[in-house]
């Protein structure tokens, strides 16, 4: 009879990490009607409504037509919102159903838990974003300026919101809390950060405030990659987004380590 021994891992439990990561991506894809088709429809509605409300007026933002300005904002908004929803819903649902034990019992360190949830939610966000982008790019042509910027800010924005989702998912005890964080925090931040308009059209005070908002840099940097039009500096944006992701990552790691609201 073979000896029973604990399984051994190297420094990182890669298989565990990949399993955790795939779990939430699959969960999101299984509910594609809600997680993918819903955002596709609602963002196409936004596009249609703005195009119709503008009517014949040739509104321009810088050298872009208004719709060219709008489309990158809508895509990155869809990415961020889907990333937030994936991690926060997964954690909250598992907590409420008592299934979180399955994740906590597995031999995963807090770093691996943080990385697993962050990566899966970012991946789910990017999948939703890609689905939203396809019909929009057929309708509106974008002069792609820089692929590295697009990828950096799409991934950065997705990770940032995935990590916010982890923090909210751990903190929330009821669906009320989750919905409140979405309605009063995530959506206002994204809506007021230049998704739909150039922050240069804001009054001076509001513009200065918008420049303190990290989500503004995500949207602006992504738009700069898609169209070449930036309201702020992409270098500062990259630094801000990188630093916030690190800060949120270490915060989420700390919550997992102390077992905040998930361990007795």
């Amino acid at each position: 009879m073979a000896d029973l021994a604990p399984r051994r891992f190297g420094a990182v439990n890669w298989r565990g990490l990949a399993t955790l990561c795939l779990k939430d991506v699959r969960r999101s894809l299984r509910e594609y009607r809600y997680s993918v088709l819903g955002p596709v429809i609602s963002n196409l509605l936004f596009l249609a409504v703005f195009a119709l409300a503008l009517g014949g007026t040739a509104s321009r933002v810088g050298e872009l037509s208004f719709l060219q300005f709008l489309v990158p904002g809508l895509i990155i908004f869809a990415v961020c919102q889907a990333a937030y929803q994936t991690s926060s819903e997964s954690l909250l649902f598992d907590k409420m159903e008592g299934m979180i034990a399955d994740t906590l019992m597995a031999p995963l360190t807090p770093v691996e838990l943080t990385a697993g949830y962050a990566c899966s939610s970012a991946a789910a966000g990017l999948i939703t974003g890609a689905a939203v982008a396809v019909p929009m790019l057929i309708l509106v042509r974008l002069p792609v300026a820089s692929l590295p910027l697009i990828l950096f800010f799409a991934i950065g924005g997705a990770l940032l919101h995935g990590l916010i989702g982890i923090v909210v998912g751990l903190w929330a005890e009821r669906w009320d809390h989750y919905a409140a964080a979405l309605t009063f925090l995530v959506i206002p931040f994204a809506f007021l950060s230049g998704t739909f308009y150039s922050i240069r059209s804001l009054p001076a005070v509001a513009e200065a405030a918008a420049r303190l908002n990290p989500v503004f840099y995500v949207i602006d940097g992504f738009r700069a990659g898609c169209t070449g039009h930036a309201d702020g500096s992409t270098t500062i944006g990259a630094l801000v987004v990188g630093l916030i992701v690190l800060a949120l990552g270490s915060f989420a790691h700390r919550l997992f380590r102390i077992g905040y609201k998930i361990k007795p």
């Binding site: 509910e31 009607r33 809600y34 088709l37 819903g38 429809i41 609602s42 509605l45 249609a48 409504v49 703005f50 119709l52 409300a53 503008l54 009517g55 014949g56 007026t57 509104s59 208004f66 709008l70 009320d176 919905a179 409140a180 309605t183 009063f184 959506i187 206002p188 809506f191 007021l192 998704t195 739909f196 308009y197 059209s201 804001l202």
Partner: protein
């Protein structure tokens, strides 16, 4: 100690009789209505404050993004054109959410029997659920209006049209919510109805633009859309500007409400998906 066994007082009293009502069980309807209202008031952050914040965000975005390019729609300043549309959109979405979620959750959790067991007729059940939704719609609408008039000078052209369309539209969506709530078996289906039917209709029916700017075919289609009439008539009440015929709107909304009422009535009467 001598204890004789004596007949209890209960034996002397006649057996209880069923309670009697007139033709309408007013107490029952009122109780169901109160339950529906208390249900949303209890989570007012989600049911009143959240739509308020979201709608004010829409207002800010549209005014900032488009107000610069489009100053007036049919002689109405853009923000004043937009505000009634947004209020109406918030009202109908919340009226729908109230009755549909109430029935849906009661079905999923099994406590729908608490509503089906009491002596309430089909008409009384509809009254309770639908008026609960109407109340939520009107409360949200009033809250929106109070917040918006602080920012945008909204006039009042004709109070009758404001009130008629507010009540008729809330009732219509609330009845749709009753029907949807009875029909749907999973939260998925409910979300699909909201995402693919209610939201698109409330977005594309002239909330944000005058349907005069639509292509000709869609301009014709809009006149068959009851959502268009409720937004248009409501806007007329505030601004005095209407894209379509007001009389047609009043007739359309009334007849749609009657039709939906009959469908809901039939569903409750047969116990469609409610009774074994």
């Amino acid at each position: 100690m001598n204890r004789s066994i004596q007949p209890g007082p209960a034996a002397a009293v006649a057996a209880p009789e069923p309670r009697r009502y007139g033709s309408v069980n007013w107490l029952g309807v009122w109780t169901l209505y109160l339950k529906e209202v208390r249900r949303f008031v209890k989570v007012a952050t989600q049911t009143i404050l959240a739509p308020l914040v979201t709608t004010l965000l829409y207002l800010a975005i549209f005014v900032l993004a488009i107000g610069g390019a489009v100053h007036k729609i049919a002689d109405v300043p853009f923000a004043e054109f937009l505000a009634p549309g947004l209020i109406m959109m918030a009202m109908v979405q919340n009226a729908f959410a109230n009755s549909s979620s109430s029935l849906m959750i009661a079905k999923v959790q099994g406590n729908i029997v608490d509503v089906l067991m009491p002596p309430l007729s089909a008409g009384e059940l509809i009254c309770g659920f639908a008026l609960g939704g109407v109340t939520r719609g009107l409360v949200v609408g009033f809250a929106m209006w109070s917040a918006i008039i602080l920012i945008i000078p909204m006039g009042l052209h004709d109070l009758f049209f404001v009130l008629f369309h507010a009540v008729a539209a809330s009732l219509m969506l609330s009845l749709l919510g009753v029907i949807g709530g009875i029909w749907a078996e999973k939260f998925d289906q409910m979300a699909a109805m909201t995402n693919f039917v209610i939201t698109p209709l409330s977005f594309l029916s002239g909330t944000f633009y005058s349907i005069g700017s639509l292509p000709k075919f869609w301009y014709g289609v809009a006149h068959l859309d009851p959502f268009f009439y409720m937004i248009d008539g409501f806007r007329y009440g505030f601004t005095g500007h209407a894209d379509g015929s007001l009389l047609a709107g009043v007739i359309a909304l009334t007849s749609v409400n009657v039709a939906l009422w009959m469908v809901a009535y039939r569903m409750f009467q047969r116990g469609y998906k409610l009774k074994a």
